[in-house]
């Protein structure tokens, strides 16, 4: 489930599904049309280094730097990046007391800040699962939530938050 896809100008649509407490992080360079979509599940890889080695995309602290590296490697430039995120919901699970969704969201913001990147739009929190599509031809990001589809546009941050 934890995964990362990067595309460079091929017009691909990157998608990730059933983001409950997980976070989908989409980054896009409108000039070179390079896009990347990461789906991570947990905030901190130090709790399970072996797992992180096997699948670094599972954790925010190992997945996000890799996503950035791959996007930069294909011609994405930090200053031009459009950065949007969805997910981090409080799902009904036995572990809800640990608030994974919220911790994932905070880990995302911390790592972006340390990487020198700000968010342009987000649809996080709440209780519903989301599906995300990033169109690398146009840079548009589509959100499917509660059976409704809408575009996640920059300049409308903190939607769907608590």
């Amino acid at each position: 489930m934890a995964d990362c896809r990067v595309a460079d100008g091929s017009g691909q649509v990157l998608a990730t599904f059933a983001l409950g407490s997980c976070i989908g992080l989409a980054i896009y360079d409108p000039q070179t049309k390079v896009g990347g979509l990461l789906h991570f599940m947990l905030p901190d890889s130090t709790i399970d280094p072996a797992r992180a080695k096997a699948n670094p995309y599972m954790f925010a602290d190992t997945g996000i730097p890799l996503l950035l590296e791959q996007v930069f490697g294909r011609g994405g430039m930090k200053r031009r990046l459009l950065v949007r995120a969805a997910g981090g919901a409080q799902m009904m699970d036995q572990e809800n007391v640990f608030e994974i969704g919220k911790r994932n969201y905070l880990a995302l913001r911390k790592i972006l800040w340390k990487s020198g990147i700000l968010l342009h739009a987000e649809a996080v929190g709440g209780v519903r699962s989301r599906t995300v599509r990033l169109e690398t031809a146009t840079g548009k990001m589509w959100l499917l939530e509660g059976g409704e589809q809408r575009e996640l546009v920059a300049g409308a941050p903190r939607q769907g938050g608590k």
Partner: protein
Amino acid sequence: MAYRVLIVDDSPAMRNFVRRVMELSGFDLAVCFEAGDGGEALKVLSSEWVDAILTDINMPGMDGEEFLRRLSADEILKSIPAIVISTDATRNRMDRLTTLGARGYITKPFVPEDLREVLERTLGDPNA
């Protein structure tokens, strides 16, 4: 456009944070002056031009409100857009500061993206 900015706050850590947000928001900072209180800030402004001022309110020495008062009384300095960054979120304070010419206001604590929004609204989108 390359910006000349003055950041006024008695906390070096906060000045650093604000500067970082400005840079990450796409403002190309040609120079960033820093001051620990209103008095130091006025000293900087007596010999340097800036395009924007970001100021705290609660500072030892000359506080932000007095600093804004002095700016608004000066024919040249009053044209520089000033944004207030303060823990004081009271209506009274905000109204007074707007009367004194503050063009933007954000309350601490804030997320970086919210400060970016205030910067863009007050100074314009640097990426446009």
